[in-house]
């Protein structure tokens, strides 16, 4: 009952409308709901991030606006709305205007296929995962538009970096999810979540709890961080190198839209990660079934966001060549091997044997590749030299 | 068919190999050349002795003739086959040739010791030997002819061995051409025989051209003038023999051939090659003796042979009487002896002729070698009038030479010549057609004895006239050996004492002398072993034959004749010492006759003015024709061709080339025009492509509509 409250609510609203308009109305309703929910989540995330970073950096976060500075996001929003909207003189006005939209809209679209609870997917597409990645592809375009349209070397460079990075990491991202798709035998998020139902003992059948699943999950998270330009892969807007990357020339609400788009994208990817590996809205333990599914989903989402914040606060930024080398020399082979491991897992009978096989198959290459990468990059203790 | 017959071919092959190797050897390899030649000859001698033995063992038994035939090449639908035959004739000739040849080889190592072309000489000698042996063993007229020609070639080469001497070169040419005339007839005979008989093999167990079926065919056929084909063929072949053996019309080359080195004269022009003609006749005797069916008595061919032989014998002997060159005298005596052989063949048969051939081969070789040794000792002096008294200087030569001389002139009992000549005379006496050959032969025998005595007196008796001989000899004689000594033996300074020859030259002389004596006893009427061997029937001793009236009378006559000749010669030349200045005795009595004889009946001149002159005139006429008529025609044709060519060129340049160039230009223009479309621009290609596609679609649609 409490689990299905949102579904019932939506059904009730739809029934109000005349029959001819019902599909349209249902779409509108779910879109509105998603926008509302994730906009607020975005607001929450901003404040949480700032505070978390503050704590990590051993300082207070925003604490002036409202209790504990909780109203800080609202203040930021007002500020963004009221700020003057600057457009460089010889910028390409149209593209410059369109870029943020092209970023935000697909991000929201991507959310449409995620099941955020039992029967709580806006649209249940047969090729949902593919759809997710397809609309995700638009991000790169928007980044390019932003960077190119605003006639600025820094923004151009940022855009180039961002696109290179995104294209490079899109490959491992998709490949690491292929394993799951193979095992679940479907592209639809609903079915994938179905595939992770059930428990053996007190262990849930989450894919993350298999060797290939774990590896895939880690790969996926790394790739996702790179996709959404999160640190330690935030070179496109690395302040110390290129002031703010591809959206230097944006101010006011468009800037806010970029921010929003980025965060929504991050949410979407994390949601997909949850759907693929963490059993979606399913509870980790059987007896916790009474807690509503959406709670589980958003809980997992928040925990992933926390993880992201933690990472951002702690890890240093990579160099460009390290970034690319990591993508092509480590992520890609690992993802491919992971697919092979998933295949073997699928075709060997359950038991300890296949555990061991898959573990070896994943761990061995990991060791080798990581060793090779380290050897390659000559990571060594820094030598200090003092002036006499 | 035993070993000897099977491997008969080895006998000619060995000297051939020797010749080949020697021809490749360098000029300085004298020992090699001589060693090879002599070794090969020795081996051949051994083989031919084996062959002789086998022939002898088979002689009494039925199988007297062993034949090996093989195919040479295909001619039309038949095969040309060659082969060799081993029969008494072959065997005995083989032994003779090998033996005499060997001796002469050994002799010439001494005689040619100082010649710088020693190697070449032995090469030629070996080649000659191989050809001669091949000729002997040949079982096919074709093979026979081939060897025959090679023999002729070697004779040419050896006569002209000192080709820097104009006389030698001329003599070589003369020999070659003269024999050619005979050979032409010979070749015609061969061709005719092949056309008529269909085979050239002598014996081909029943199919050979000397065997009954073919012979009968030939005899029955009749050709122009009511003459049997066999007779015609026989006469033609006999022409070849005439050429080779220097019989009457064609004898002129033989005396001149004496320009060659003396061993050559001994081997080729006394012992073997000239006898080849006789051997040829003996070989094809069945053909010669063939008479048309129904006719009896001796055949036409044999009659001709007999007459020619008799005439030649007297004729040459009479010439020899007046000659002064030692070798020429011997040469003419050779001719006359060959005539005797021919008579023997003609009237008596193979055995008679062959017996004289054998004996003559030995004693004539002996005489020639002796003459050679004389010449050698007198420093290349050849004029008998400038010699004399050599008896003391070279006793061995004198002894052997005397034996040879007595054999030749038919001194009774101890000398082979007597027996063989006696045989011939006896045969001639009992010839039914006419007695003239007999009388002629007698006269020839008389002359022979006479001129041999004369020569002996000139050369060996009296006082030595060598020193002053030098002055006269040069003017007395033609270009025969002008400047010869100086270049043949540069180191011998003239004049000097005549000296005896080295042992290498004397040994053959003595051996030959022995055989000259011995050989006669194998052919006496009492025990005619050789004749019977050749005829192929057993011989037995029967002394009573000697007392038989006819034989005894003939023997008596010939003895008387021989002694008369010797006595006459001694009476004329031997009593008082001779002087080379004063004219010959006969010359004083019958000068005209003597000059006639000395000039050889002017035969050379006659030939000079008739045949040669005709030939020269004809060639001049040909030259004139060539210059004025054919030349003009050729010029005319040439001009015509040039004109044509000019027209052609004009056509070529103006029509063909221009047209071609024009078309080429046109093509290239068109090419450039088309290549405009290939302007390398992608878009134009794409345009054309799409346009074409659209048209295609339209076509398809309309096609569907219409159908």
């Amino acid at each position: 009952m409490i689990d299905q409250v949102f579904v019932l609510l939506k059904g009730w609203l739809v029934n109000l409308a005349p029959a001819s308009l019902q599909p349209f109305v249902s779409g509108v309703v779910s879109v509105a709901a998603i926008i509302a929910a994730f906009a607020s989540l975005f607001a929450l995330t901003t404040i949480l991030e700032r505070k978390g970073l503050g704590r990590i950096q051993n300082r207070y976060g925003p604490n002036r606006v409202g209790p504990f500075g909780l109203l800080q996001p609202a203040a930021d929003g007002l500020k963004a709305l009221t700020k003057e909207d600057l457009v460089p003189r010889d910028a390409d006005a149209v593209v410059h205007y369109l870029a943020p939209l092209v970023l935000v809209v697909p991000a929201f679209l991507a959310l449409a296929v995620l099941p955020m609870g039992r029967n709580m997917a806006a649209v249940d597409l047969d090729a949902g995962v593919l759809f997710f990645f397809a609309v995700g592809a638009a991000t790169e375009l928007s980044v390019f538009m932003a960077g190119w349209s605003s006639r600025n070397k820094y923004s151009m460079l940022g855009a180039m970096r961002a696109i290179a990075q995104m294209i490079s990491y899109e490959v491992p991202l998709i490949l690491s999810s292929v394993g799951v798709i193979m095992i679940a035998g479907s592209l639809s998020p609903e079915k994938i979540v179905e595939a992770q139902a059930g428990f053996s003992g007190w262990l849930p059948h989450w894919f993350v709890l298999t060797p290939w699943g774990l590896a895939g999950f880690i790969l996926f998270l790394i790739a996702a961080a790179a996709e959404s330009n999160r640190s330690p892969f935030d070179l496109p807007e690395g302040e110390s190198e290129i002031i703010a990357g591809y959206y230097i020339e944006y101010s006011g609400f468009k800037f806010a839209l970029f921010f929003l788009g980025e965060y929504i994208g991050m949410f979407a990817v994390c949601g997909l990660a949850i759907t693929l590996f963490l059993g979606g809205w399913r509870p980790p333990l059987e007896f916790l079934d009474w807690i509503p599914s959406y709670v589980w989903f958003f809980g997992k989402l928040l925990s992933l966001i926390a993880l992201a914040i933690w990472v951002r606060g702690t890890l240093p930024r990579l160099r460009m060549d390290q970034l690319m080398g990591f993508a092509w020399k480590f992520m890609l082979p690992m993802a491919l091997i992971n697919i092979a491991a998933a295949g073997i897992w699928h075709f060997t009978p359950p038991g300890v044997i296949r555990w061991l096989i898959c573990l070896l198959l994943v761990a061995g290459p990991y060791v080798l590749l990581a060793r090779g990468l380290i050897e390659h990059n000559r990571v060594a203790k820094r030598v200090y030299r003092y002036a006499e | 068919m035993d070993f000897a017959a099977k491997n008969l071919w080895l006998i000619p092959l060995l000297p051939l190999v020797a010749a080949g190797v020697t021809s490749l050897a360098k000029r300085a390899r004298r020992r090699l050349a001589a060693g090879l030649a002599i070794g090969a000859m020795l081996a051949s001698l051994g083989l031919s002795l084996i062959a002789f033995g086998s022939a002898m063992s088979h002689a009494t038994s039925g199988l007297t003739r062993q034949v090996v035939n093989f195919r040479w090449f295909q001619l039309g639908d038949g095969w040309v086959r060659l082969g060799w035959v081993l029969d008494p004739l072959t065997a005995i000739m083989l032994v003779m040739v090998c033996f005499v040849g060997l001796l002469i080889f050994i002799y010439s190592t001494g005689y040619m010791a100082h010649d710088e072309n020693f190697t070449r000489f032995f090469c030629f000698l070996s080649l000659f030997a191989s050809a001669m042996l091949g000729l002997i063993i040949a079982n096919s007229l074709l093979l026979f002819f081939i060897c025959w020609e090679i023999v002729g070639l070697t004779s040419y080469l050896l006569i002209g061995f000192w080709f820097h001497k104009p006389a030698a070169a001329a003599a070589a040419k003369k020999a070659f051409i003269t024999t050619r005339i005979g050979d032409l007839a010979f070749l015609l005979g061969i061709v005719w025989l092949y056309a008529q008989g269909g085979t050239l093999l002598f014996y081909d167990n029943g199919q050979g051209c000397l065997e009954q079926p073919v012979l009968g065919g030939l005899a029955s056929k009749v050709t122009a003038g009511g003459m049997a084909v066999s007779t015609g063929i026989g006469l033609l072949i006999f022409c070849g023999a005439v050429g080779k053996s220097g019989q009457l019309p064609l004898h002129v080359w033989l005396p001149d051939a004496m320009e060659g080195p003396t061993p050559v004269s001994a081997l080729i022009h006394a012992a073997t090659m000239v006898a080849a003609g006789v051997f040829l006749v003996a070989r094809v005797y069945p053909l010669m003796a063939l008479t048309p069916p129904g006719v009896h008595g001796p055949s036409t061919a044999l009659t001709v042979i007999a007459w020619v032989g008799a005439l030649t014998a007297v004729f040459a002997a009479s010439i020899a009487v007046a000659q002064t060159d030692i070798k020429r005298i011997l040469a003419y005596s050779t001719v006359s002896q060959l005539g005797f052989m021919m008579v023997g063949l003609g009237v008596g048969g193979v055995a008679v002729g062959m017996f004289h051939l054998l004996t003559h081969a030995f004693f004539k070789a002996l005489l020639f070698l002796g003459a050679g040794s004389v010449i050698h000792g007198c420093h290349e002096e050849q004029d008998v009038r400038c010699m004399g008294g050599l008896r003391k200087f070279m006793p061995v030569t004198f002894a052997t030479y005397a034996i040879g001389m007595m054999a030749l002139s038919g001194v009774p009992v101890f000398f082979s010549g007597f027996w063989s000549k006696d045989e011939i005379l006896h045969a001639a006496r009992s010839w039914e057609l006419s007695h003239w050959p007999f009388y002629l032969s007698l006269f020839g025998a008389l002359l022979t004895a006479f001129y041999m005595t004369r020569q002996m007196c000139f050369v060996f008796f009296g006082s030595c006239r060598l020193a002053l001989g030098k002055t006269t000899s040069s003017e007395q004689h033609s270009v025969a050996h002008a400047g010869q000594p100086a270049r043949e033996h540069p180191h011998v300074e003239l004049p000097a004492e005549p000296h005896e020859s080295p042992g290498r030259m004397l040994a053959p002389l003595m051996i030959l002398a022995c055989f000259t004596v011995i050989l006669g006893f194998f052919g006496t009427p009492a025990w005619p072993w050789i004749q019977h061997f050749i005829e192929g029937e057993p011989a037995r001793l029967d002394l009573s034959l000697l007392r038989d009236a006819s034989i005894a009378s003939v023997m008596l006559t010939s003895t008387i004749v021989a002694l008369a000749g010797i006595g006459l010669g001694y009476w004329l030349y031997g009593r008082r010492p001779l002087d080379s200045q004063q004219p010959d005795v006969l010359e004083r009595w019958w000068p005209n006759l003597f000059t006639l004889l000395r000039r050889k009946y002017y035969i050379d001149e006659v030939y000079e003015y008739t045949f040669v002159g005709l030939n020269a005139w004809w060639s001049r006429a040909c030259v004139w024709l060539d210059k004025w008529v054919w030349e003009a025609v050729v010029q005319l044709v040439a001009a015509l061709v040039v004109g044509l060519a000019w027209v052609d060129r004009v056509l070529d340049e103006q029509v063909v080339n221009r047209g071609f160039d024009e078309s080429c230009r046109g093509i290239s223009r068109g090419g450039t025009l088309i290549s405009r479309s290939q302007n390398g621009r992608v878009q134009s290609y794409l345009r054309a492509l799409c346009l074409a596609a659209a048209l295609l679609v339209l076509l398809l649609i309309w096609g569907c509509r219409s159908s």
Binding site: A134, L141, S186 | V697
Partner: protein, 172 residues
């Protein structure tokens, strides 16, 4: 439905025209991306979900970006100075019009096409496509993989800079 088709079709065609006519290369590329998106929408209308998404993923996500990169690498980002149309543009237009006429005429006049007005209603599942690819079209699939590999290597070799020192792990 018809309305959405009309809108999508209009947008697609308009953006295609824009991609072909705009003076600025980047604009052309962007409007090309819009065309691709419109095509993807048309596929979705034809109930070819998988193909539609694949179209989006490949064309919008990869090809368009590739083209943009190419434009930037060939210094095409600035506005064109020389005329953008080739000297024989008129002929090209004429050809295109002819082709258009032929195709349109064929389509409108063919009875077989006009016969199909109603599509058989059915729900294609991605699973079926997968099965087909793995069973019936497996060999073409393998060949395709080979082709893609070859094309990748070839493109890299073609576009790689000759004058660059071969330094492993260098800045790019």
């Amino acid at each position: 439905m018809t309305l959405s088709f009309a809108i999508i079709g209009a947008v697609t065609i308009a953006s295609a025209i824009a991609a072909m006519t705009l003076r600025h290369l980047v604009h052309c590329a962007l409007s090309l991306a819009i065309t691709f998106a419109g095509l993807a929408a048309l596929y979705l209308q034809l109930q070819a979900q998988f193909v539609g998404f694949a179209q989006l993923l490949v064309y919008v996500g990869a090809v368009a970006i590739l083209i943009v990169f190419a434009i930037l690498l060939t210094r095409g980002s600035g506005p064109e100075t020389q005329p953008i149309y080739s000297s024989r543009w008129l002929a090209g237009v004429v050809v295109a019009v002819i082709v258009m006429a032929v195709l349109g005429g064929t389509i409108l006049s063919s009875k077989t096409v006009s016969a199909h007005v109603e599509a058989a209603a059915f729900e294609p599942s991605v699973r079926r496509i997968g099965d087909q690819l793995m069973t019936r079209y497996v060999l073409p699939l393998e060949v395709l993989g080979l082709l893609l590999t070859a094309a990748t290597i070839g493109a890299v070799i073609l576009a790689i800079q000759e004058n660059r020192p071969a330094k492993p792990g260098g800045h790019q």
